[in-house]
């Protein structure tokens, strides 16, 4: 099962690479994670925050995009515990937990990640969580994970 074991700093085995969209619309988000920063798209024209990133602002239709750094603090908005391994190579690690976290610092936009710690614990919607950055240095990307605030 998935735990933070000594010797392995990854929650899941490195089967599933983080993969910025080929057209590049979310590159800044993934680049920021490597610096251990969370950014969301912010429209330079009207200030609307937006996730997931898109080439234009859905409010004012401006293509002038900027980015806002937001605090790594959030609340669990929803969650699932995965028991059936897909791909099958995840069999060793199941069950594991994926949370959807809303970010009060970013108009409650949501980002998915794993909930670190005991995968069989009870998970509560609304529970406060804080960001943990999982560097995959050899592959050149960083994942955004979450742990419960004690």
């Amino acid at each position: 099962m998935a735990t933070e074991q000594s010797g392995s700093t990854y929650y899941l085995p490195e089967l599933l690479p983080a993969s910025p969209t080929p057209d590049g619309r979310d590159r800044e988000f993934w680049e920021a994670l490597k610096r251990h920063q969370i950014v969301v798209q912010r429209c330079n024209a009207c200030g609307t925050l937006q996730m997931e990133p898109e080439w234009l602002c859905h409010k004012c239709l401006s293509f002038d995009r900027g980015w806002k750094e937001v605090a790594g603090k959030g609340r669990i908005y929803s969650w699932v515990r995965i028991w059936h391994p897909v791909p099958a190579k995840l069999k060793e690690i199941c069950p594991f937990v994926v949370v959807l976290v809303e970010l009060p610092d970013a108009d409650n936009l949501r980002i998915a990640g794993n909930l670190l710690g005991d995968p069989q614990r009870e998970v509560e919607i609304g529970a406060p969580v804080e960001a943990a950055f999982e560097d995959h240095k050899e592959k050149g990307y960083t994942l955004l994970q979450w742990r419960l605030v004690r």
Binding site: L16, A18, M51, R81, H84, V98, R110, A112
Partner: protein, 388 residues
């Protein structure tokens, strides 16, 4: 004020299917299954296969129209059309066929879907390759890769907001299995499901047990659509298309985790448009087929079609209410995706038509109005209403 709509201008006049198999069980190819379903639908309608001059499908159907028209020896192909999306496109494909016959592009359109997941791509295997599309990049690295997992995330939030327990999901699953026991075509015919077996089945992804998830099958289903005028002279009682709608809610972007109405099944405005076109209310619907790839999506969908309020679901969504012959709203009366066959929901149209014709295996007494809903926590979605 008179609306200019498709209402009552077209009808389903024939239904057909291949034999339904467990995944990998079909002795013929997916293309062969598609042809068999179309041939059977034409025979049921009492028309010659060669009278079919249009083909409509959805969900990136792989058997393309020129090969089908060639294989079936159609003298003329006058209309071929694919609705965007996956399981949300079933009713939309029927609606496109109806529009085609009413506008005069074609006379008899076969709406069909074939699927042999034993031969091709398995949806349940997720999206993990290097060519992974768009927004999946935000979830796949965390192991959120399959439709079951992504929909579970939305259903979990809905359960939290409306105090829904596992009982409602179990009722949807058990209703499908109950109805499949009367349907010899169903893959799960002869395989009843008890609540104990449901509870003891393994988790796929909480809150979905194994029996909350549809099967993987080999099969094909088809219906023939023509104008109401032609329908009157054919062999079967017509199932008139009373209303149809397709679309998405505001910023309900496929695979996005930032859909504003996240704890939703995506029908809030579609159901309103559907009822307005039909000129009926939810209580006028006698029987419903609702796309059940995952039971939890159906629970939300029933509320979003006005059969009860979201906060009343625990009273409404019970096995007694959802099952033939005595339930208030018999649901998935041939067994649905969960227990008849998973043909991405096309088989639900066949059943919706049979109910208003009067020859369904779990025939709802005096059924006049039958609803078919495709999708459910997918987008774009679609839905339709048939009447006798």
């Amino acid at each position: 004020m008179e609306q200019n709509t498709i209402k009552d201008k077209a009808a389903i006049v024939g239904v057909g299917e291949s034999k339904y198999y467990k995944r990998g069980g079909s002795p013929v190819s997916e293309f062969g299954l598609a042809c068999q379903a179309i041939i059977n639908a034409a025979e049921d309608a009492g028309i010659k296969v060669t009278e079919i001059d249009g083909l409509a499908s959805f969900a990136m159907e792989a058997n393309e129209p020129s090969r089908l028209a060639g294989g079936l020896g159609l003298p003329e192909l006058n209309f071929c059309n694919m609705a965007w999306t996956g399981g949300g496109g079933v009713a939309a494909a029927v609606a496109n066929a109806a529009a085609a016959v009413v506008c005069g592009y074609a006379k008899y359109v076969a709406v069909f879907r074939a699927l042999a997941q034993g031969q091709t791509f398995r949806f349940g295997q997720g999206t993990t390759g290097p060519g992974m599309a768009g927004l999946m990049g935000f979830t796949v690295p965390y192991g959120l890769t399959t439709p079951a997992q992504k929909i579970a995330m939305r259903v979990r939030r809905f359960m939290h907001e409306h105090k829904i327990t596992q009982d409602a999901l179990a009722a949807v699953s058990m209703a499908s299995y109950h109805h499949a026991q009367f349907n010899p075509r169903a893959v799960m015919y002869g395989r009843p499901l008890t609540r104990e077996a449901y509870d003891q089945s393994r988790w796929i992804v909480e809150p979905f047990h194994l029996f909350d998830c549809c099967m993987e099958n080999d099969g094909a289903s088809a219906v023939i659509v023509t104008t109401a005028e032609r329908a009157r002279d054919l062999k079967q009682k017509p199932a008139y298309i009373m209303a149809a709608a397709q679309g998405s809610d505001y910023r309900d972007i496929h695979d996005s985790e930032n859909v504003p109405a996240f704890a939703s099944s995506n029908y809030k405005h579609l159901s309103r448009r559907l009822y307005e076109m039909a000129g009926i209310e939810p209580e006028d619907v006698d029987v419903v087929q609702s796309y059940d790839h995952f039971s939890g999506g159906v629970v939300i969908t029933l509320a979003e079609h006005g059969f009860c309020a979201a906060d009343e679901l625990m009273e409404f969504c019970t096995l007694d209410n959802l099952t033939w012959p005595n339930g208030k709203l018999p649901l998935n009366t041939a067994g649905g995706n969960l227990a008849e066959c998973y043909v991405i929901g096309m088989q639900l149209v066949n059943e919706a038509a049979r109910q208003v014709r009067g020859d369904a295996t779990c025939q709802v007494k005096d059924a006049e109005i039958s609803m078919m809903i495709s999708g459910s926590v997918t987008t774009p979605a679609s839905n339709l209403i048939l009447h006798r």
